[in-house]
Each structure stands twice: as C-alpha cells, then as structure tokens.
C-alpha cells in the first residue's frame, strides 16, 4: 500500500472516530457519576436533527452544534429525573430514551420538511487549516487541516483527563460514581453531581449527533447514528473509563470503519456487508478478550437513596 492510501485511511479513521469519541465521552462523564446511560443512540439522534435544523435555518453550523447540545440536554433530563429522582432502572430507562428520542426527531423532521420531497442539504462546517503546520508532509493534512470540531473533540479528551486527575471538583465527581455514600458523608452533593453528569452527557451526546449532520453528512436521515451510541458504550469499557483510553478505543473503531470502507471499494467479489461487520465484530472480540469483570466505577448503575430506612 502506498503512503497515500495509508494516509487517507488514517484520515478517514480520525473522521469516523470523532463523532464516536464525542458520544463515548458523554458516556464517560455519565458513568463517572455512576449513571449508566444506554440512551446515547437516542440522544445523538435528537442532537443530529437539532444540529441539522438550526444549521438549515440559520446557515451557521455553530448554531447547529449548540442546538444539538441543548436538545441532548433536554432529552437527557427526562432520563436524569427518572433514574436519579425516581430511582428507575438505568438500563430500562436508557432503552425508553432510545425509543422516544428518535421518534421525536423523525416526527419533527417530517413536520418541518414533509415526507418524501427533495433532499434537504446544508453546507458542512469548514475546515480550519493551521498555518505552517498543515504543510508538514503526510501528517499535515491529517492533524492540522480539520474542522474545529475535530480539534475540540480531542481537546475535550485533554480537558477530561485534567479535570478528573488534577482538580478537586473532578475528584469529588469521580467519588460519586465510586462510593456515593462516602462522598455524601463528606458533604458532597451526590444528587447534584448526578444531575450535572446527565447534563454533560446529554450535551456531549447531542453534539456528537450534531457533528454527524453538520460536519459529516450534509443531511439528516433516520438511523443516521447507526449504532454509534452502542459502540460508544463498548468504547468506554474498552478504554477503561479513562479519557485517553476511550480516545484510543474510538480511534480503533474509527480505523475499523475506515478499513471496511476501503476494503469495500477495493475487493470485488466478497459481499461488502462482510466488511461492514468489522466494527461490530471487533467490538465483540475486543470485549471478549479484555473481559469486563470488576472494572469501572464501583457504584455504576446503582440507585442512590438519601436516607435508608
């Protein structure tokens, strides 16, 4: 394979990884406070629609990204209320969100744009080339000629790492997912942090969805998230609940995706669906190899009640 091919595969891998990374970071923040949210797929779907619509009407992709975040937060607050305040089962309620959010999105889309009809498209977010650096051979295009969202996504990883490792508030946040009672005895507002984590999760998953429409695909279609919400869950496990690890996992899945597209084009004869299976099978194989016993925040997915008895 020539350098060009490799470079284009890596470039594609990074592009594929970014929406996944945003959604996986959403889950990371959620689970750090003990909130297992499997409704990411739905959150990303409303984010994608909100991002598309706002961009369509304002012509500003940043407005779209912001709308994605707001939509994600609003929907995830339903999840937050049910699981934190009503102590509903996280998994079950995540499923409910996965049903509600896409239904809502496609309803709004149909009401706004009608069924059938022409394809509605928006202009994608422009890349920002970083002067000088972009001219580095091979790496230049890959690293320094992307949309701002790509830089932001990776900056988010950095921020997450610093927040959880270096700040007091990050330490408090983590303790809520590990041992909420211990956190409470030290005066940490457990319920508040759980809600906060849901707001952050909704925002990031919504942005991840908005990225798909504003930076990736130019239009909104049903099922645009296509399982990224679920692969993101696996990425968090694979990445060991750690920003850098999750980033690595997302790049790996992005690479699988990029490879399968490349293979689809190049190898005739073999049905392309076999290549499309690669990211999903990779998820299963990776998880099976690393196992998932005794990992992650200790109180992950458990309800928290203030006064027992």
């Amino acid at each position: 394979m020539s350098m060009d091919v490799i470079s284009s595969i890596v470039l594609a891998a990074v592009r594929m990884a970014v929406p996944l990374l945003l959604i996986a970071m959403a889950e990371l923040w959620s689970e750090r406070a003990g909130m297992v949210n499997i409704g990411l797929e739905g959150l990303a779907a409303v984010g994608a629609l909100a991002g598309f619509m706002l961009t369509f009407y304002t012509g500003n992709t940043w407005a779209g990204i912001l709308a994605g975040a707001v939509a994600g937060i609003l929907v995830n607050l339903i999840y937050a209320y049910a699981t934190v305040s009503l102590c509903a089962n996280h998994t079950v309620y995540g499923m409910a969100i996965n049903l509600l959010a896409p239904a809502l999105a496609s309803f709004i889309y149909r009401v706004s744009f009608g069924t059938g009809g022409g394809l509605n498209q928006i202009e994608l977010m422009k890349g920002v080339a970083i002067p000088v650096l972009k001219d580095i051979p091979f790496l230049g295009d890959l690293l320094f000629n992307q949309t701002p969202m790509v830089y932001l996504a990776f900056a988010l990883v950095l921020f997450t790492n610093i927040y959880f490792r270096k700040t007091k508030s990050g330490l408090n946040f983590k303790s809520v997912g590990e041992h909420p009672k211990a956190a409470a005895t030290l005066g940490i507002n457990v319920i508040g942090i759980k809600y906060l984590s849901c707001v952050i999760c909704g925002a990031l998953a919504g942005i991840g969805g908005a990225y798909l429409t504003t930076c990736y695909s130019t239009t909104y279609t049903e099922g645009i998230v296509s399982g990224r919400g679920f692969i993101a869950l696996a990425a968090v496990i694979f990445g060991r609940w750690n920003g850098t690890g999750v980033m690595g996992a997302c790049l790996f899945f992005g690479l699988c995706d990029a490879l399968q597209i490349r293979l689809q084009v190049s190898s005739l004869g073999v049905p392309y669906q076999f290549f499309q299976m690669i990211p999903y099978l990779a998820t299963v194989v990776v998880l099976a190899i690393i196992g998932s016993k005794k990992a992650g925040p200790k109180a992950n997915g458990l309800p928290y009640r203030k006064e027992e008895r």
């Binding site: 007091k168 330490l171 303790s175 956190a183 005066g187």
Partner: protein
Amino acid sequence: MEELMRMEHISKRFGNFYANKDVNLTVYRGEVLTLLGENGAGKSTLMNILIGLYQPTEGKIYLNGKEERIDSPGQAVKLGIGMVHQHFMLVEAQTVFDNIILGDKRSKGIFINRAARRKEILELSERYGLDVELDAKITEISVGAQQRVEILKALYHGAELLILDEPTAALTDIEVEGLFAIMNKLKSEGKSVIFISHKMREVLHISDRITILRAGEVITTVNCSETDGQKLANLMIGRELTKSQYEKKEVSGEPVVKLEDVRYNETNKHNGLAGVSMEIRPGEIVGIAGVDGNGQTQLAQLITGVIGPEKGHVHLAGSKVSTFDPFDFIESGVAHVPEDRNLQGLIGDMSIADNLVLKSTETDQFSHGKGLFLKKKDINSYAEELVQKYDIRCTSIDQAVRSLSGGNQQKVILAREIESEPDLLVVVHPTRGLDIGATRFVHDQMIAARERGVGILLISADFDEVLEMSDRILVIFEGQFMGEFSGKNPPIQEISLAMTGK
C-alpha cells in the same frame, strides 16, 4: 473540663418505633467517651443524628455551648465532627491521598495543590502517629491502615470530635494497641473521641467515661475508674445474665455433619477458616460464640455447600462430600437459615406462598409430574397452614415477602427450612433485629426441632442467645476454635475471654 458537645433530649422515631428516646449525652474536650450497648440499643442511630445523616424527631445539639442544626453530613464536617464508620467510607479505586482530600473545602483554587496538601497531611500524620502510605490504593493496604486513613481524613477535615464505630472489630491485637496509642495521642492534643464498642476489656482500657444505652435510652454514665466489667455487663443487658430456661442435653450417635481440619481463605483472619474440626450429632444444638467476622460466615456457607473448602474434608451423614453445591446439600437434608435473610434467604418480590415452597416445587405434594404442573391450590393451602403454625403476621399469603417485617420474614424462612424435615439445620443470627416475642418464637421452634432429632448449628453474635440455646458451645476466633464448652452451666468468664482470643 470544658464541654465540647452536648445532646439534649434527643429522640428519633421511625414509624411507631423509637430508636432513641430522650437521650442526653455530653462529651468534654480531650476525653474518650464510650457508648456501650447491645446490638439495636440505638448507638448507630444516635451517631447518625450527630453526623447529620438523620434528623432527630426531637431534641437539640450544642457544640461549644452553641445550639447547632446539623442538617447534612457536610454541616457536621464543617462543625468539626468526624466519624469513622464500621464499614469504612473509602473509595477503593483511589489512592490514600485522594481519599483524604476528597470533598476538601478548606483550600482555595480549582486544582489540587498536591505538594501543599501532602505537606499538611504528613504533618498531621506525624503529629498523631498515623502512619500511612499516601500513594497506595486503598485496596492495597491493610484494614488497620485503612482505619488510619479514615482517622487522618477526619482530622484533615478539621474534626474536633471523632466518632469511632466499633473500630476494633476488624483489627488484630497489635493493630488494636496501635489504635489505642493513636486515641491517647488524640486526647493529649485536645481532641475528643466517642468510642463505640462492646468489647469490655477494651472499653475498660481506653475510656474515661462510659455511657450505657439500652433500648434507645441512656441508662447511666459512669466513670471508667469506678466500674468493672461485670457491673457494665449487667447495666448493658439490664439484668443478671439469666440461666437458660431450656433444658440442656448431651447426645451420642452418628454425627450428621463432621468437619476435618477445614481450611478456607486461611490467611484472612476475618473471612477465613484456619483448620476447623467439629461435629454435630442428631438432637443437639451446637452454638458458635464469637465476635462477628471471625470466620462464622464462611463456616455456615461451608456446611451448607455454598462454598467449598480449600483443604480438609466435610462428611455429611457419614459420607465424604466431593462436590460443594447447595443443591446437593439440600438433597442430603441440610437446611439453612442464612445470615442475610433478604439477600440470601428470600426472593423478596415473590409471595409468601412462593417463598414457603421455594425448594420443593418439584415434589409430588406441590406439582404433577415432577414440576410439570404446579398444584397452586395445594401450595396455597399449605402456605395458609404454615402461616398459622408459624404465626406469620401478614394480610395474605399473596403478599410479597419484602413487605413483611424482619421478624415475619425470618419466620417464613424458618418455616420453610424446618418443614423440609432436615437432619441438619444451620441457623445464622436467627433473631437479629427481632423483637422479644418473635425471638422467643424462633427459639421455641429451634428447640422443638432439636427434640425431633435435628442437629442444629447456631451461629450468633448475640452471646446471650448462644448461652441460652446451646447444648455445646464452640468459641471461634480468627478462623479457629478456641475451645469447647458444655452448654450446662457454661463458664461465662472463660468463654468471653476465649472470644477475644485468649
């Protein structure tokens, strides 16, 4: 002496039940005050009020003479009250350092200033002789070290009053000595300690004053120098240790179960067995006396097949057991009233009737064709019958067992296990949290089973219960038996000494 904290007329009611009633408690600066009382005497509730987890139904709390409302744990921390819980409140996946500074409100800034915090912590640790490894993870350090972390954490958050809830329960003798040294150091630095324990020897050794709680009320407060163990025990229990009303028996016959040098998780003093041999014969009650967490849990689970030994043998009805599976043990006539009735004994969301026939749905009595079609009518009438016989107070047999009171839940388990007509009955903490009437009922049922020739293993942290019920008493300490005593006129002093490992 200067008063640090005073509780006045504190009451706490749960429903119709008073966990604390009109409690007055004073702690002076630089003293160790012991709270002494049996399980359920209201010590934990009182302390939970002090640290803001519960709100008192009535009463006031004064700190340094000023009335304070402690409406949250955060508020308690702010007021200089720190508690070391019996089950440590430590985040296991994090380092000692992170645990200590968790929830820090004293230092300014967004980032953790590690160097400065480290210096502060090390100063504290030196001053009080609290030796800890700051960069180790909690999982990597010993229980004793974890406790020091907890104390250091409380001091770091500015505790003037430190509550230690049964701090010695999980410690070795040497670690206990270390803890006492720390407590003395705390005293000399003007800090006050509330010490919760029921180990008489330790209480007498370390306390300045002792407050005795019984059934939620303060009985009296005495100076340590003016009392002795016997007096305290009498005050705590409220009567002289009564002679058992049940007749004690000596039986011979083939043992229903026999353990030979059984070892499990040997290196762990609190959750292991280090070479245990014993036997239980038909028609006797063998009581295991000992402080909680000396291998009792493992002993019970081993004899019921939940876990298997790493070394040694178990014989059931004369034949050696090769596979350890609860199913095989049940088939061989072993019944089990487990330690945690909700987690291990009952399916909380199923009905009383379902729980009563839990193990026997395949029998001809309750189904056609070995489980192919349940005879619900028969199950229901059987359940009605047992509800009568075992005096299970419920609105209907269709009620979920979760909604029953603890005593009635225990009766459901007891009914199921005794009615299975076992050869061996293993009962663990059978009357924990039960009122007097229910306790009496459970005891009577056990004696009746014994009269029918059932061999019974009784494991209980309630020393009185062991003395009252057992035909033979074995004392367990750190996974080993410290001695065997007859249940007839048992030598109480000797047994309580053996329970502390002497």
